[in-house]
């Protein structure tokens, strides 16, 4: 397992996929800050930039990573080389999940850093002392990562089941779209109150951290939901991958 993780880190360090996604998220988030300032939509202080990672548009790019970095390994023979060397299929899958988690963490970091610095430049940083801000930033960045890891399991599963970059990206986008549509439906339904169902969706948690900073129950529920979103596809994938034929 150690060797598999080392290989993933090595490949990530050489990967252009991650670099391009970082560049893309840097550009789109910078553009968003400028547009927001020009249109005077709302004023976001730099100290609250850490809450800006949780947009579904940002999360879509994680699916692109799963496609270009993970599913492509089935096409270029990377998975074949690992398995033919006697590596355990469960470990191979977990190593890919590991690279997905690293990617999500790095991309979220790019987003929150751009949001924090960018909003500080255009709107000002805010009143928070530096020491307090550091703790506040790290704590909420950690929550943001945990809530976003719910995607890692699904996107990696799509990569392993389809074994094709294009299909992985398509499935990931569809998954995001379905989650958004259901979320929107439960949020806006005018009849019976369906809002409690929103708590079954990860985006409920990563988009509402800033309103629930002292709500312990909110975080507990969030961890549980995201853990389930993470574990279910992982269990399904490892089970299926162990039986799967590799072309």
């Amino acid at each position: 397992m150690k060797d598999l993780l080392k290989v993933e880190l090595y490949k990530l360090s050489k990967s252009k996929t991650l670099f391009y996604l970082m560049l893309l998220l840097f550009t789109t988030n910078t553009f968003g800050i400028i547009t927001n300032k020009l249109l005077k939509n709302y004023v976001l202080l730099g100290q609250n930039g850490v809450f800006q990672a949780g947009t579904s548009v940002n999360a879509m790019w994680f699916g692109a990573f799963a496609g270009f970095f993970i599913a492509s390994e089935f096409q270029n023979g990377g998975i074949r080389n690992a398995l033919a060397l006697g590596k355990d299929r469960g470990n191979v899958f977990m190593a890919k999940i590991f690279s997905m988690i690293i990617c999500i963490t790095i991309l979220l970091f790019v987003i929150v850093v751009v949001q924090t610095i960018g909003n500080s430049i255009v709107n000002g940083f805010g009143e928070m002392p530096v020491g307090e801000f550091a703790v506040f930033f790290l704590k909420n960045f950690f929550h943001t990562i945990v809530f976003h890891l719910s995607y890692a399991g699904f996107f990696t599963m799509f990569a392993f089941l389809t074994q094709k970059p294009g299909l992985t990206i398509l499935f990931s986008f569809c998954f995001e779209a379905i989650i958004l549509v259901f979320g929107g439906f439960f949020e806006n339904y005018k009849g019976q109150n369906l809002k409690p169902f929103l708590k079954l969706f990860p985006q409920f948690y990563y988009t509402k951290i800033d309103h629930n900073l002292s709500n312990q129950q909110f975080f507990m529920n969030g961890y549980l939901v995201c853990l389930l979103y993470f574990l279910i596809p992982v269990i399904i994938s490892v089970f299926l991958f162990r039986k799967m034929d590799i072309k």
Binding site: Y10, S15, G78, N81, L83, A84, L85, G86, K243
Partner: protein
């Protein structure tokens, strides 16, 4: 040569839906052998190799690698394997050095100096910093071979290693494989549809036909089992055949107006020549030949 089995398969079958890709394959490869797996496209060669490498599972039967079977033991034994199956497994955006580094790390090897050595062995020295996507097909095949060698395998599985190569590339690859077997003592399982090429390397053959292993034979046995024949070209094949038949009671196969083939009494080639000349026949060509692997393969697959 040692009799220790590197690979032994027992009643291996693989079914895809209603199609049986492999049917009860019992194959044995011993240490030091260069085993040529021969078969038409779709005969099950790649499927068999994938099963050995653990990429696909057999529907029935089991395999032993170095005398070990069972999924955990097989997994351990596979660390002694090197393989290139069908397309070369490469990261196109990485350099040759980086591609080798990935495989080394995967195998838990840290000696970076091995990279240069392996590239030299496959004739790719001075290309370490070049990206794999910029390699020609021949270079990609050789880089894939280098990747399979970087982990110091004892058993090499090569599926169509000369596929898509030009004649020079084919000869170079053949020499590399020969060298790996002779200098480094590797056991090699390889498939190729270039039977003439294969016959210059392989010490043993297995013929797969419609998913069944119809025969296993060593190169020596093949030589003994394939007859010599005499090829004669004269200005009148029918007349020449009659002369030889009358004089020596030999059966002549008339292949065309000018060509005869004789499958017996090859030791009397000089007598045949003399008899034809004395009878006024113009002998333009006369040679003693051995049936090739190709003929053997065609005969055995057609009779099955």
């Amino acid at each position: 040569m040692s009799n220790k089995a590197v690979l032994e398969t027992f009643q291996i079958s693989k079914q895809y839906g209603n199609n049986k890709a492999l049917h009860d394959v019992n194959l044995r490869i011993e240490e030091g052998q260069i085993y040529g797996l021969i078969g038409l496209n779709g005969s099950g060669k790649s499927t068999f190799m994938r099963i050995v490498c653990g990429l696909i599972s057999a529907t029935e039967g089991h395999i032993e690698l170095y005398g070990k079977s069972g999924s955990t033991d097989l997994q351990k034994q596979r660390s002694k394997l090197g393989q290139t199956i069908e397309t070369p497994a490469l990261y196109p955006e990485m350099t040759a050095d980086e591609n080798l580094m990935v495989q080394m790390t995967l195998a838990g090897i840290s000696e970076k100096k091995k990279i240069k050595e392996v590239l030299r062995r496959v004739g790719l020295e001075d290309t370490g910093n070049k990206k794999a996507k910029n390699f020609s097909l021949g270079m990609k095949q050789r880089l894939a071979l280098a990747i399979s060698l970087i982990t110091d395998p004892k058993f090499l599985i090569l599926d169509e290693p000369t596929n898509g190569l030009d004649p020079v590339g084919i000869v170079e690859t053949r020499d590399i494989i020969k060298n790996l077997a002779h200098e480094y003592g590797l056991t090699i399982l390889l498939s190729s549809h270039l039977l003439d090429e294969l016959s210059q390397i392989a010490t043993h053959y297995g013929i797969l036909h419609q998913g069944q292993l119809i025969t296993q034979i060593s190169a020596d046995e093949l030589l003994k089992s394939t007859n010599q024949y005499i090829k004669i070209i004269t200005d009148n094949a029918s007349a020449s055949a009659e002369i030889l038949n009358t004089a020596f009671s030999v059966k002549c196969e008339v292949l065309s107006d000018t060509e005869i083939r004789i499958n017996e009494q090859s030791e009397r080639i000089a007598d045949f020549n003399k008899a034809l000349i004395m009878s006024g026949q113009k002998v333009q060509h006369l040679s003693c030949n051995q049936h090739k692997l190709e003929d053997y393969f065609l005969n055995i697959t057609q009779s099955n």
